[in-house]
């Protein structure tokens, strides 16, 4: 037979004489022809021996443990480590997409050196060893010239062991400028510092809480430790736990967290503080608050007199005079009976957790609003009780330098608090010019609300090095890019993620051989220290990152506490033992501990002891301060005056900027789990699932309420401009019933300018947001941008 056997013919043939298919020789010939035709298009998968490796996820700060399935030396699947206390075998889509990161076509193959200019770069490949030599040489010159302090390191993560190494390096080198990227939780952190004097990362006992009030926090969309959060959510709804906990989501937009909550309270944007204080009003006037806790452990509840005899307003009179129920209802747009009911429900379903104010994982909220929310925890006695606000345990041991910083007084230790303040410090050249910038796997030009300022400030730094796996928006402006390994091909470690109380150290050896000429930032810094010699080499006497990790594990052994990751049963047993004053480790020396950690994924402290007040309440008064004396001191110091207003120290509703005729719509950037933290746009797995609620993928969308859209003559799917006072970006409008009329939303994480074709899709809302630095902390917040939207 000579006719070409395409599928259409085959179908016609099969339909015409279905009976013939089995018997006719023609069809057999047909099938073999078909097979031959297909053969050239078949993708064959090589087989090989199967093995499993442990891993630590580095796709976000969530701190999950991994199990990696290997076929030969190929990683073919990432799963959760069932022994890891954070994720217990589960994993989020970001962690799974780590596989695409490892085998990504846009990864840097070699180190790159810019031989052109910053505006017009010409990249020249070089070996990582050569690149390392350049870094050492530069750092030596700087140090010899007595300008060590002008080196800045911007680090990606805050917990874990690499930050310890980097900050130790910086101290030994002689620079105070070790900074991290700001996160959405910073305002919350500052509020807890103001009221409890605690500067550890925030920690909550979510799984034991009965009633959770989230004031606009995107709990299920990548906040904190995402998988730990999902597990807590699951436990709230576990029939076996006896009673369902209630999640109340207070937020203008019908977000995924709002959708999954037991109750969604739509609120006028930015009035979360008023709602919290309105609830406080109900709790106080109905006598529903925890009177014992307030009496024993708080300061500033009643009006009070200081040592000089000046009288001060207490929290109670503030709330009673300014946040009466009906006033709160008018301001927030939440009906008075709802506020009343929420307050009563909370009082009857303790332990309660109140979290806020509104922020997502990249944009911090407001400190006073966060204090308003945290005051509910104080009123309801949720401080350091099971199901309440806890204090994160510190890793035991041997850190040569402390990473703990005073979140309110950052300049005490460094000249800038976080990467958000760098542009100003660089451009002003005060107190001195910065000579060298080292970026450890961060992309501030893309991820900061003041990314544009960061970009232009980079021009004033003579030498910039970036550790990065991709030539991203910031790396492309550097002078030297050293390819960083992805999560599976180097030693990995993780610390206690934010929101988790128990101290955790996760460590894993490389699962696969490195794909490219990569260098772990830890190895780079150690080899620089070695080549610079002297005190620097003495401070970091390790041949490589593995040896450094091994040394840290020695410290864990010396601390005589905690346990290697085990099953839930083993963990409960260890917890029980530890509570009764026993410590029965599964190892008898540091070497055994190291071997067990490598096999099982890490070490942790399974027990938490509640109610150690001197540890939990470290304020001047030793109490939970409704009236923050730390804020009072800060204001006095800043303005060099003794005269400050009570308002500066008490929680209150921050002022809300109004819309204008030119810019009538409020733009609220939003976050989706797949691109949480603004990372992940380069991964197809994540691009495919990011906009599922509006049926969008691979591109930005503008969420707009259908009525609002009609007012401005915009149809569903229209291409529109979103314009603010700063600039405009283009996206496709998507009607979304969950958008509040008068408010529009653009997703964060899209619109890279560099880093490969996949990453560069969509637009970055941070290009048009108006930055409003927080008055207290100086954090780069950006929650108030009014825009106009019109058809493109």
């Amino acid at each position: 037979m000579s006719f070409t056997f395409d599928r259409r013919n085959f179908l016609r043939f099969a339909a015409g004489g279905a009976v013939g298919v089995a018997t006719s020789g023609v069809s057999l010939k047909g099938i073999s022809t078909l097979n031959a035709a297909i053969d050239s298009e078949l993708v064959r998968v090589p087989s090989g021996p199967e093995s499993w490796a442990t891993g630590v996820c580095n796709m976000c700060p969530g701190g999950c443990g991994l199990r990696v399935r290997l076929i030969g030396n190929r990683a073919v699947k990432i799963q959760g480590n069932p022994l890891h206390p954070i994720n217990r075998g589960g994993l989020c889509p970001k962690g799974l997409a780590g596989l695409q990161e490892l085998y990504h076509p846009d990864r840097l193959r070699t180190a790159l050196r810019n031989t052109g200019t910053r505006d017009n770069p010409r990249w020249k490949g070089l070996s990582s060893d050569e690149a390392l030599g350049l870094v050492s040489e530069r750092m030596r010159k700087l140090r010899d010239a007595g300008e060590a302090r002008s080196l800045v390191v911007v680090d990606r993560q805050r917990s874990g062991l690499l930050p310890r190494l980097l900050s130790r390096f910086m101290t030994a080198y002689g620079s105070p400028n070790y900074v991290t990227m700001p996160t959405g939780m910073d305002a919350l952190q500052a509020a807890i510092y103001a009221q409890q004097g605690v500067s550890e990362q925030v920690a909550y006992d979510f799984s034991n809480s009965r009633y959770v009030l989230s004031f606009g926090v995107n709990l299920l969309e990548g906040w904190g430790a995402p998988v730990a959060m999902m597990r807590a959510f699951s436990r709230w709804r576990d029939a076996a736990s006896g009673r369902r906990a209630k999640l109340v989501q207070i937020e203008p937009r019908f977000s995924m967290t709002a959708a999954r909550a037991d109750e969604w309270v739509p609120i006028r944007p930015g009035t979360e503080a008023t709602l919290a204080l309105g609830m406080a009003y109900v709790l106080i006037s109905e006598g529903l608050y925890d009177a014992d806790f307030v009496r024993e452990h708080t300061f500033g509840f009643e009006d009070w007199r200081d040592a000089e005899g000046n009288s001060h307003t207490g929290f109670k009179s503030l709330v009673k005079s300014e946040y009466r129920l009906n006033d709160a209802a008018t301001v927030t747009g939440v009906p008075a009976d709802t506020i009343l009911r929420l307050a009563r429900e909370a009082a009857q379903n303790r332990p309660v957790l109140a979290i806020g104010d509104r922020h997502n994982s990249s944009l911090p909220g407001n400190v006073y609003a966060a204090m308003a929310v945290h005051s509910l925890n104080g009123l309801l006695g949720s401080i350091d009780v099971p199901g309440g606000v806890l204090v994160q345990q510190q890793l035991p041991g041997q850190a040569l330098v402390s990473n703990a910083k005073d979140p309110l007084l950052p300049s005490a230790q460094t000249h800038v608090a976080n990467a958000g303040e760098l542009p100003q410090a660089i451009v002003s050249k005060r107190p001195y010019p910065m000579q060298m910038l080292l970026l450890n796997q961060v992309n501030p030009v893309f991820a900061l609300p003041n990314g544009a300022a960061f970009r232009s400030a980079m021009k004033d730094v003579p030498f910039i090095v970036s550790f990065s796996a991709f030539l991203d928006d910031t790396a492309v402006l550097a002078d030297l890019v050293i390819p960083a390994p992805t999560g599976l091909e180097s030693w990995q470690d993780g610390g206690t993620p934010p929101t988790v109380a128990n101290a955790i150290v996760s460590i894993s050896p490389p699962a696969v051989r490195p794909r490219k000429d990569v260098r772990h930032p830890g190895d780079v810094m150690l080899s620089v220290a070695r080549s610079l010699g002297g005190s620097l080499a003495a401070a970091l006497p390790f041949a490589g990152y593995e040896e450094f990790l091994r040394n840290e594990v020695n410290g864990l052994y010396t601390a005589q506490a905690g346990a290697v990751f085990g099953s839930t049963l083993e963990d409960s047993w260890n917890r029980l033992m530890e509570r009764s004053g026993w410590w029965a480790p599964s190892y008898s020396n540091a070497d055994e501990l190291w071997q067990q950690i490598k096999k099982q994924g890490g070490w942790w402290e399974p027990a938490y002891s509640h109610g150690e007040w001197s540890h939990v309440l470290r304020t001047k008064s030793g109490r939970f301060e409704f009236y923050s004396q730390a804020l009072a001191d800060l204001a006095k110091q800043r303005r060099r005056t003794e005269k400050i207003e009570d308002r500066e120290c008490l929680p209150h509703q921050p002022t809300i900027p109004e819309a204008t005729t030119n810019f009538p719509l409020l733009l609220m950037p939003v976050e989706q789990l797949p691109l949480a933290g603004g990372e992940g746009a380069h991964l197809p797995y994540l691009q495919q699932i990011a906009g599922v609620h509006v049926f969008a993928n691979w591109d930005s969308w503008l969420e707009i309420h259908p009525e609002t859209a009609r007012t401005f003559g915009i149809g569903d799917g229209d291409s529109v401009w979103i314009e603010s006072g700063r600039g405009r970006v283009q996206a496709r409008a998507r009607f979304y019933e969950g958008a509040r009329p008068g408010v529009v939303h653009l997703p964060l994480g899209y619109g890279h300018k560099s880093g490969g074709e996949w990453a560069c899709r969509g637009v970055n809302p941070l290009e048009i947001v108006e930055e409003q630095p927080d008055p207290v902390t100086g954090l780069p917040s950006a929650h108030w941008t009014y825009v106009k939207v019109y058809r493109a």
Binding site: R7, A14, K77, Q79, Y103, D106, R243, A259, Q687
Partner: protein
């Protein structure tokens, strides 16, 4: 003879879509290019459907992870002209790629829209081929594919049990989506075994089957989300 089934607790699902990605990596499902994705040609054997209803501010969303529900009475089988799809004695509805002629009758017949057609030669850019799972064949252009309940995992679990000279136990065989679910919202097992977790959950007051009225007899069963009942100690209401 086991009858494999899945229970998904909608009260616990956080709509994170880890199931979607876990399935794609496990089963060598390629990511289609953005242009084709915009035409609705993304292949995902299990998707989370948002299901939004109502108007601001009275809205509800019931995100529902939806794999092939492995009907006991599957409409897809009846329309296939070449017997390229079949239900095996253990209740798994399978696609036989070598027989499939790409007519897509089955994709139209499936009321759950859980059958997907390969419009293109599968593309794995760069080194993505390195991550392919050798236990699962990559489907060629022109055939329909669907959830297999990670049947290759069953074969492996059976081999392992046989080697250890024991019966297959609950939990030995679990599809990738169920295994990864960070909220523990998905359960898998033998519906015939009265003592299995899935069988017990399938009998619960909250259990319902999707589009049951069509007579398809799905073996993916959902548990309704219920609502907070004021902390009366009675657990979620049904």
């Amino acid at each position: 003879m086991p009858r494999w089934g899945m229970v998904i607790d909608l009260a616990k699902c956080t709509a994170c879509q880890a199931c979607t990605v876990a399935c794609q990596t496990e089963n060598n499902v390629p990511c289609v290019p953005p242009k084709e994705a915009a035409r609705g040609r993304i292949i995902s054997w299990i998707s989370v459907l948002p299901q939004i209803e109502g108007e601001y501010p009275r809205l509800s969303m019931r995100p529902t992870p939806l794999p092939c529900v492995h009907c006991d009475n599957p409409p897809c089988i009846r329309v296939c002209p070449v017997q390229a799809t079949a239900i095996n004695p253990e209740g798994v509805v399978r696609q036989i790629y070598a027989r499939c002629i790409g007519c897509r009758y089955c994709t139209n017949a499936c009321p759950y829209t859980r059958r997907m057609f390969n419009w293109y030669k599968p593309e794995f850019p760069g080194e993505f081929t390195e991550a392919l799972n050798p236990d699962v064949s990559v489907r060629p252009k022109g055939v329909v594919e669907k959830c297999t309940l990670c049947h290759h995992r069953l074969q492996k679990a059976r081999d392992e049990a046989r080697a250890a000279k024991r019966e297959l136990a609950e939990g030995d065989y679990v599809p990738a989506c169920v295994e990864i679910c960070p909220a523990g919202a998905m359960y898998f097992g033998d519906l015939e075994d009265h003592n299995s977790t899935v069988a017990a959950l399938a009998r619960s007051r909250r259990a319902f089957k999707p589009l049951e009225e069509l007579g398809t007899h799905p073996k993916v069963i959902y548990l309704a989300q219920g609502e907070w009942s004021g902390g009366d100690g009675q657990g979620p209401r049904t």
